[in-house]
């Protein structure tokens, strides 16, 4: 029965995709409804899997069919508590974003295509989290990448949008290169890619040491390269800020709540391997450096969606700190709270754009609080949550991560994380004060159209604001005895995830840091606008994103293109190889021309040459041999 349930859960969005994809022409007005219904079905089924009884104990394992027979690669499911959390986030937040999209995309002529892609995305994401082996996970992994590509470039007439989509796909492919090699290493070592079997062999130490003692280190780091690509960490984060070219609900769903967290999920899923290989330290360091680095770029960004994008990169960094220091539950906890508050903030940003005729530059906003009250209050909740304001959702999960980092002996990471927390609160409230407070800098033309979003859009906002407020208290209260730890405990039992020190001081420190950030932002931006910000070299560096895109372009893109064009194509291919081919032809023709002259047609000449030939042969056989 459970197998059927999962199949329906998985197939529903696929059917939605097929209906909208094939018959969309006739379904323009109900395409959003169809797509939302498909995800709602998945959500309802997902909710059942919260109860272990439905899963039949710890985990439900089912094989659907054999895919590549020689290595018994199969399409199969593995549903445990971790999967369930992911399922709920994907389908729950996903459903709300689908509903919101009905309003947001109402006037877009391509909305059936939009909803088809969105359903396809949910389908691929479900494959990713339901998989019981790395190969199937990879199918979903690249599938979500495809949908991300299609949705970023949804408005394909804009070059910047299709550039961004292409960049996302290619940068992700660089990560996938690592994922692929990681899978090869794992397969060469373990002879399987099935989670259960593979982890079992890893724990019992029965595998072939492909790379000697460092086999697992190599394998986990390669997998992590994949995670770095998908979850936009240093050095592959560059695609995510550009991905904001897509419709805003897409940014909320794919580039905040779900797809970009796939890397965190993958590391958590592979926790046994990372623990055995002790490579979590790399994960944590990459995570914390990304968190800080992205936060600094958010300080100087004036595009409201870019601020949120950098913030997403930064928060993903926190999640990697969590899973890196072995606090897997805390990492997943943050993944969940982040899905709510960041999804919420993107949707509110969409609501602002909706009201402001797609304006994104916050220097042209200000004082929107009174015009867009629901948007303002829901955004504020999201911002307080991410800033770690006491007792909101982000407070609990972020605090747990930092606390665990400290307890695991990563004091420096803890320090950087705390600094980042301060910056996070600061840039988020910079955004709030500039956009919603102060005097209006809105064009009078736009100002006359300012309006709050319709209910189909603001109801999802409210429904996301509620968990952003309270989910932390509900599932996070009580530290290691909290609901989330009890729930996920069965998945991550294999390592000592225990809080030694008293959590209260950490909570107090985080609260102070968060509130301090808010206060500093208030001091600076309650009256001033970003227009009057000084153009210092540091600010310029930040505003230009450390020139990383330019550096990548100059170091990788242009040289490769130039070498390919001149050296490989013009010189090697056309010059040398074809030159040799044509030279051969030319020489042969020349020889042919010479030989042709010998065919004189004079019989006597032929006889002479024949006689000479006979003499030579006879001479050879008689005298020389």
């Amino acid at each position: 029965m459970s197998k059927d349930l999962i199949t329906i859960l998985l197939i529903a969005p696929l059917i939605g995709f097929l209906i909208n994809g094939l018959f969309g022409k006739w379904l323009k007005n109900i395409s959003g409804g169809i797509a939302s219904l498909a995800v709602l079905i998945s959500f309802i089924i997902s909710a059942f899997f919260v109860f272990p009884a439905v899963r039949g104990g710890d985990a439900l394992k089912e094989t659907l069919y054999e895919w590549i027979p020689i290595e018994s690669f199969a399409i199969g499911f593995h549903v445990d508590a971790l999967t369930t959390v992911m399922l709920l986030v994907i389908t729950g937040v996903g459903f709300l974003i689908h509903i919101y999209s009905i309003g947001y995309m109402n006037h877009d002529p391509g909305r059936t295509r939009y909803f088809a892609y969105l359903n396809l995305f949910v389908f691929a994401m479900l494959i990713l989290v339901l998989a019981n082996n790395y190969l199937m996970m990879f199918i979903g992994w690249e599938g979500v990448g495809l949908c991300s590509y299609l949705l970023i470039g949804f408005w394909f007439e804009r070059k910047s949008a299709t550039d961004a989509g292409k960049k996302a796909f290619i940068v992700n492919r660089i990560g996938d290169f690592g994922f692929l090699l990681g899978m090869f290493t794992l397969f060469a070592a373990f002879g399987t890619l099935n989670f259960d079997t593979l982890f079992g062999r890893a724990e019992s130490n029965t595998y072939e040491q492909v790379f000697g003692a460092s086999t697992l280190i190599v394998a986990t780091l390669l997998l992590f390269v994949g995670a770095v690509g998908k979850s936009a960490q240093i050095p592959l984060y560059v695609w995510l800020p550009d991905a904001m070219e897509g419709p805003t609900p897409v940014s909320a769903l794919i580039h905040a709540a779900t797809m970009v967290t796939a890397g965190v999920y993958m590391v958590a899923r592979s926790s046994i391997l990372f623990n055995l290989a002790h490579t979590g330290v790399v994960v944590a360091w990459v995570g914390v450096l990304t968190a800080l680095f992205a936060a600094t770029m958010a300080l100087a960004a004036n595009d409201i969606k870019r601020v949120l994008a950098y913030s997403t990169v930064s928060q993903l960094g926190y999640m990697f700190v969590g899973v890196g220091v072995g606090a897997y539950t805390s990492g997943i906890f943050h993944l969940m709270t982040h899905a709510f508050f960041k999804g919420l903030m993107f949707l509110t940003a969409g609501s602002v754009m909706h009201a402001m005729s797609d304006e994104l530059d916050m220097r042209k906003m200000g004082g929107l609080r009174s015009k867009l009250p629901i948007t303002y209050w829901t955004f504020l909740i999201g911002a307080l949550a991410i800033a770690g304001f006491p007792f909101l959702s982000g407070f609990w999960s972020k605090d747990e991560i930092l606390h665990n980092a400290w307890d695991s002996g990563y004091q420096v990471i803890f320090g950087i994380g705390l600094l980042t927390a301060f910056l996070t609160a600061f840039y988020m409230f910079r955004l709030i004060f500039v956009v919603f407070h102060g005097e209006s800098r809105v064009d009078s033309e736009v100002e006359s159209h300012l309006h709050e979003s319709p209910p189909v859009m603001w109801i999802p906002l409210v429904l996301l604001a509620i968990p952003s407020l309270i989910i932390g208290v509900i599932v996070g209260w009580g530290g290691e005895h909290s609901a989330i730890h009890n729930f996920l405990g069965s998945v991550f039992t294999h390592h000592g995830e225990s809080h030694h020190s008293n959590p209260i001081p950490f909570m107090i420190i985080s609260s102070i840091v968060g509130i301090a950030g808010i206060l500093v932002a208030w001091l600076i931006y309650r009256s001033k606008t970003p227009l009057s910000e000084p153009i210092s070299p540091v600010h310029k560096l930040l505003a230009n994103k450390y020139y990383i895109d330019e550096i990548y372009n100059a170091v990788f893109v242009q040289p490769i293109r130039g070498i390919s064009y001149y050296l490989f194509w013009k010189i090697m291919d056309i010059g040398i190889i074809d030159g040799l081919v044509n030279l051969t032809a030319f020489v042969l023709r020349g020889i042919g021309g010479l030989i042709r002259r010998m065919q004189t047609g004079v019989v006597q000449a032929y006889v002479v040459s024949m006689v000479i030939g006979i003499i030579i042969f006879l001479g050879y056989y008689l005298f020389i041999r």
């Binding site: 590549i68 018994s72 394909f156 007439e157 796909f169 397969f187 079992g200 194509w569």
Partner: protein, 512 residues
């Protein structure tokens, strides 16, 4: 008789067209060609349904003496490897007929006759179990191809045809010498089946004689420069057949002759060949990236893709070889599909330059969907066919005992490059503003064109989602080839594979 029927039905069709071309009009001829090729496909399906996957023996065998004095016989048969190439051929040809429906302006009857004769020759190559018969079909293939490019091709068609023919003939000449030498080692017989299992002398030389002929066909770097020219000048259908089937002659020849007959040659030259394939993968991709001409881009992408195939074959393990064979089919579908799609916009705009396009998605949404799916298949997106082949090839390469992992690691970067050149091309052709007035007048696909593409897309998805029926039928034949391609003296080389077999079996048990 089934194989003979499949092979010679198209030839009968060609004769019929030749006889009836004055009686029936142009469209009548096309219908004959379509019906005959479809019939051939339908008949060939019974090869699939009647195929016994549990044995590596040749099936549907036919053997009768032809020129007895010289040990030449009419000897046909297929195994789990040639089965797929036969089906690929019979599948692609009716698609080609339909694709050429309106595009051939002069001499449609000659075109169809050439196409049908080509099909017979290609099928003959894949089914022949007699070296002489094989060579006859192999050379016979050249003539209709020569005509297809030379008569119905583009402006520089003569240069391209001569280059194509000379390149191929150079290889064939070497192979002919090899075949004759084998004849004497095989008790004056051309029978391939008795050759298997003999320990031949001068294997390295023989290997090279055959391999160069095949490497030119593949084409393996650096023998590839005929391909872009031939593709650019060939009519759409010529390109489709060329990419879809003809290139597989090379890789098929490697599996059928080079690997099982000359294990010593395999051992000696694997490092060289694998190096060339890896160079081909990267080089083909990089050169494809900078092409301004759509057809050239696809042609160079073939160099890259076929590099993967050869890499897989020389991994000399189940994963690699099965992946390589599957990738032959995949490449036929995706690259054949790409050439069809390029042909469709070429027919409308009479240009193949990427820069002449832009924003077509808006004007041609149905075209855009097909183009996207085939592009993604070519990129190797999981869920579509290309990924299964590429994954197995790279996994096989990584696990291979015959070359270092470094080769596979470098080859894997081809996965990134494929995304770069294909998506960049797609962006420039399909996305952006529809600002060229000539593009604003384009019509979307006609029902005929949709009918051409739908079968290809069905198989692209099918192989991606459920490759088992394809892979399970080749398993026995592949293990036979692998066994034959191991040098007989070295028992040692067998041990790691055996150990691996045990672990996989264990894995299967545990998974169950």
């Amino acid at each position: 008789m089934l194989l003979s029927a499949v092979i010679f039905l198209p030839l009968l069709g060609a004769i019929l067209i030749a006889l009836a071309r004055h009686i029936l009009g142009e469209s009548g001829l096309k219908w004959i060609a379509l019906i005959v090729t479809l019939l051939t496909f339908v008949v060939s399906i019974s090869l699939y349904t009647g195929f016994d996957a549990s044995t590596h023996d040749m099936q549907f065998k036919e053997e009768r003496p032809w020129i007895e004095g010289l040990g030449i016989s009419y000897h046909l048969g297929i195994d789990g490897i040639s089965l797929w190439l036969v089906l690929l051929t019979t599948f692609m040809t009716p698609i080609c007929v339909l694709a050429a429906w309106n595009s051939i302006e002069k001499g449609a009857s000659g075109f169809m006759i050439s196409l049908l004769m080509l099909e017979t020759a290609m099928l003959g190559v894949f089914c022949a179990l007699d070296l002489f018969l094989f060579f006859v079909f192999w050379e016979a293939m050249l003539i209709p191809m020569y005509l297809l490019i030379g008569i119905w091709g583009g402006h520089r068609r003569i240069y391209a045809t001569i280059k194509f023919v000379l390149y191929t003939m150079a290889g064939s000449a070497l192979m002919l010498v090899g075949i004759l030498y084998l004849y004497f080692q095989n008790d004056n017989s051309f029978n391939l089946m008795t050759l298997y299992g003999r320990t031949l002398s001068h294997q390295n030389l023989l290997f090279m004689a055959f391999f160069i002929a095949f490497a030119i066909k593949v084409p393996l770097f650096p023998f590839h420069t005929w391909l872009p020219d031939a593709h650019v000048e060939a009519p759409t259908v010529g390109s489709v057949i060329l990419a879809g089937v003809l290139l597989k002659m090379g890789t098929y020849g490697i599996v059928r002759f080079c690997m099982p007959l000359f294990p010593e040659g395999v051992a000696a030259y694997t490092p060289l060949i694998v190096t060339l394939s890896v160079i081909g993968i990267i080089y083909g991709a990089l050169v494809a990236m900078v092409q301004p001409d759509l057809k050239k881009l696809v042609a160079y992408s073939s160099v890259s893709h076929l590099g993967f195939v050869v890499l897989g074959l020389f991994a000399l393990n189940q994963q690699g070889v099965q992946g390589g064979i599957l990738q032959m089919i995949n490449h036929g579908l995706s690259t054949g599909g790409l050439f069809l799609l390029v042909g469709m916009i070429y027919e409308r705009r009479h240009t193949r330059m990427i820069a002449d396009f832009g924003g077509l998605s808006k004007q041609m949404p149905i075209f855009a969907v097909f183009f996207m799916i085939v592009t993604l298949s070519s990129i190797g997106l999981p869920g579509l066919n290309g990924f299964v082949g590429e994954f197995m090839i790279l996994l096989g390469g990584f696990m291979s005992d015959s070359f270092s992992k470094v080769y596979t690691i470098i080859a894997t970067t081809g996965v990134i490059l494929a995304a770069v050149y294909m998506l960049w091309m797609f962006q420039r052709v399909m996305f952006g503003k529809l600002d060229n007035p000539k593009n604003q007048a384009l019509n979307d696909l006609s029902p005929r064109e949709i009918a051409v593409l739908v079968p290809i897309v069905i198989f692209i998805v099918w192989i991606g989602v459920y490759p088992k029926p394809f892979l399970s039928r080749m398993e026995q034949s592949v293990s036979q080839v692998l066994q034959q391609s191991k040098p007989t003296a070295t028992v040692k080389a067998d041990t790691p594979t055996l150990a691996l077999d045990i672990t996989t079996k264990e894995a299967k048990k545990i998974d169950e």
